[in-house]
């Protein structure tokens, strides 16, 4: 049984004088213990809002959250906020892109970690302090005794992110949500942090939701990948399938947009045209249609559903005219053989 089941999650922001804005629009996915599930997409596609909604960390006003987030059988969205607070830190934890903003600047690292241990694991101060030291050591902070006494600003970006991970895993949460945990870090430090997260999943059976815009990070770390566009999942597959047979025109376009270290020199990039500001509402269309090279008539009159993809096992797709390997090419310029629906393409 999955540890976390997100069902039809929706987040709508309402501000006076403005049309309500659906940042997350019917997102469903499961996470098993020890599994790493990726949420990928460009900025604004709803990755962070999804994770904040799961953690119940959105501002209480100005938004409406719908759907179900069932954690080990309990619907987190309907839990009294006090119980939710208790679970946060104990059962579920989150790490953010900017570690500085999630650490208290005027409290030493040591005190911040011991506080978590005392509050959630009911440890005595001396035991908590010893445990905090071990934790810093485990996440690869050199000279943990000295670092415990230091304040966040005295640590480098990589050290801060480690300290934050130490706090997040202090209570051995069963689910960890990492929202762009390495985006602000250098690649050599990123490699350290990704290795650390991988170890946590493998050794503690922690379930991990990895949020990133970096398809390279996804390729190395995630068991299952969800590609988000305009608040909806447009493609889902295990990582090998996703990269071997991407079928959504957006996924295809993303892959064709990325300069690759191992690509032949002088190879031209084939970016998705336009930007997310060209999106149209999902209500009776495909939001991606204005940027899509595979668009067919239906794309502006009906809204595609997430259904089984023409190729692959458990591979899902939200598209009327997927990109298929035999089609004429890739991405925005890609194959435009008019295929009526996903199923008939084969």
């Amino acid at each position: 049984m999955p540890l976390l089941e997100v069902e039809d999650l929706g987040v709508e922001f309402r501000r006076r004088g403005l049309e309500p804005f659906r940042a997350v629009d019917g997102v469903s996915f499961d996470v098993d213990p020890g599994q790493t599930v990726g949420l990928v997409g460009e900025s604004g596609c709803g990755k962070s809002v999804t994770s904040l909604a799961i953690m119940r960390l959105l501002m209480p006003r100005g938004n409406r959250v719908t759907g179900r987030v069932s954690f080990d059988g309990t619907d987190l969205l309907r839990l009294p906020i006090r119980d939710m607070r208790d679970r946060r830190g104990r059962d579920l934890a989150m790490i953010f892109q900017d570690p500085l903003s999630s650490l208290n600047p005027v409290i030493s690292i040591g005190l911040q970690v011991t506080e978590v241990l005392q509050r959630h694991r009911g440890m005595k101060q001396s035991a908590a302090r010893a445990e905090a030291r071990d934790l810093l050591d485990q996440v690869g902070i050199p000279d943990p005794d000295r670092r415990l006494k230091e304040y966040p600003h005295q640590l480098s970006g990589g050290m801060r992110q480690r300290a934050l991970i130490a706090m997040a895993v202090a209570c051995r949460p069963r689910l960890l949500i990492a929202d762009e945990p390495t985006t602000a870090l250098d690649v050599t430090i990123q490699a350290q942090i990704l290795q650390l997260l991988g170890t946590l999943v493998r050794e503690n059976g922690t379930a991990l939701i990895m949020i990133t815009h970096d398809l390279g990070v996804v390729a190395g770390l995630c068991d299952e990948v969800n590609v988000l566009y305009g608040g909806r999942i447009v493609e889902r597959a295990n990582r090998h399938e996703l990269f071997a047979t991407p079928q959504h025109p957006y996924t295809h376009g993303l892959l064709a947009s990325i300069p690759r270290l191992d690509a032949p020199a002088g190879e031209r990039l084939h970016p998705v045209q336009g930007s997310v500001s060209d999106n149209i509402p999902w209500t009776s269309a495909c939001a991606f249609a204005p940027r899509c090279g595979n668009e067919v008539d239906r794309c502006r009159s009906a809204s595609p559903e997430l259904t089984a993809a023409p190729l692959g096992h458990g591979h899902q797709l939200r598209c009327f005219n997927p990109v298929l390997p035999d089609g004429a090419g890739v991405g925005a310029t890609g194959g435009s053989a008019p295929v009526d629906s996903a199923g008939e393409a084969l």
């Binding site: 990123q190 490699a191 190395g220």
Partner: protein, 405 residues
């Protein structure tokens, strides 16, 4: 200093160039530039020429070199004290960089945050006053220039920033942003003519003419970067130093801007120095890549070789750390995980600056003797005492991961 200072450096009234189409003028720039600049005498450049030529003989044909940097240093004083500013030390942000950039090529600079990439770029453009060393642009030592000559040379070198409009007055329209540089350099003509030039320029960066009347906040990040590039182009530069030009953009938009930069380079014969922390971007866009660590180049090579056969331990680690969007490769790749962080440039390690993190560090030489950038293969320079032994596999990485001191 900001780009405004760069413009402000010009005297207000300038001789107007012959009325000509902007595009034409840009094409003519090389010719014009050569005509305007007094050819340097032999001894003016002799010292620099010799060393740079020796360093880059194989990588850049001396006749074709647009920019030479010789042992450039930019140190920032660290000040303490309430009443008197006492200098208690220096940040060695750029500490001895030599390189040469050919006309029409793209030179990429990579390295971790704080390694001195931006400072080097700014030092080259003299937006930051170098502490020591030479910058020779088109055969002329830039340090010797003043007044009109300096202004004219500056017009030929422009900078593009990560978010070019982020720091600007939001009340300034795109039109006035674009005109700013042209006015400072006395390049504006009649109203109609100038307007036509601006429209052409906008269209060449993929923006509609209606953009002229709009304001920065009305554009997306990608469009803002197009405006930033257009703004640099208004004065017809030959060299563009682009500091993280696509780092703030989404991947699809990033690719559009990269393609645009490549197109403009083709059309206008531009020379680029592209600074970025994203190695894949730099490898893609550059002809040659320089890898920086703590204020100095540790490796320089044609961009394909930097990935295919990195020779410096730091470059090896860097390349192995970049995630590649290919699960099969990711599962099988060997990864060199470095321990610790970049040491402080205010207190750089002795000897090889990488020795505190180097998996191949040797007892002898590494912590006492600073390795010099040496050409190991044609066009491939490396600063490591043991690069050859490491490359041949004769030296193995140390088993014990090194801890940061």
């Amino acid at each position: 200093m900001t780009q405004d200072d760069l413009f402000a450096a010009g005297e207000p009234e300038q001789p107007r160039p012959e009325p000509a189409e902007l595009t034409e003028r840009i094409e003519q720039l090389h010719v014009e530039g050569l005509a305007e600049t007094d050819a340097p005498t032999e001894d003016e450049v002799a010292g620099g020429r010799a060393s740079a030529a020796a360093l880059s003989a194989a990588t850049a044909d001396a006749a074709d070199v647009l920019l030479e940097v010789n042992d450039l240093k930019v140190h920032f004083p660290i000040k303490r004290g309430v009443v008197f500013d006492k200098t208690v030390g220096y940040v060695y942000a750029v500490d001895g960089v030599s390189l040469a950039v050919r006309r029409g090529e793209t030179y990429g600079l990579v390295g971790e945050s704080g390694c001195g990439k931006s400072t080097l770029g700014r030092g080259i453009l003299r937006l930051e006053e170098p502490t020591a060393g030479q910058v020779i642009f088109d055969g002329v030592d830039v340090a010797g220039l003043a007044g009109e000559e300096l202004r004219r040379t500056r017009r030929r070198m422009q900078m593009v920033f990560q978010d070019p409009l982020g720091s600007l007055d939001p009340r300034q329209s795109v039109e006035s942003l674009l005109l700013e540089g042209m006015k400072a350099h006395g390049l504006t003509k009649g109203k109609i003519e100038t307007n036509r030039e601006l429209r052409e320029l906008l269209s060449s960066v993929g923006l509609p003419a209606t953009a002229l009347r709009k304001y920065p906040h009305e554009f997306s990040g990608g469009q803002r970067q197009r405006i930033g590039i257009a703004r640099a182009l208004t004065v017809g530069p030959e060299l563009i130093v682009a500091d993280e030009p696509v780092s703030a953009l989404d991947v699809s938009v990033q690719a559009q801007v990269i393609n645009l930069m490549e197109d403009l380079q083709q059309e206008r014969g531009l020379t680029y120095i592209v600074i970025a922390h994203d190695l894949a971007v730099v490898r893609h866009i550059s002809d040659r890549v320089g890898v920086m660590y703590l204020g100095a180049l540790v490796e320089e090579a044609p961009s394909a070789d930097v990935y295919a056969e990195p020779l410096h331990p730091y470059t090896r680690a860097l390349m192995s750390a970049v995630p590649v969007p290919d699960p099969v490769l990711e599962d099988t790749r060997e990864r060199i995980i470095l321990t610790g962080d970049l040491p402080s440039p205010a207190n750089p390690p002795t000897g090889c600056r990488f020795h505190t993190r180097c998996p191949w560090r040797q007892e002898t030489r590494c912590d006492t003797e600073r390795p010099v950038l040496t050409e190991l293969k044609p066009g491939h320079r490396v600063a490591c005492h043991y690069a050859t032994e490491i490359g041949s596999g004769r030296l193995k990485p140390n088993a014990e991961p090194l801890q940061l001191v």
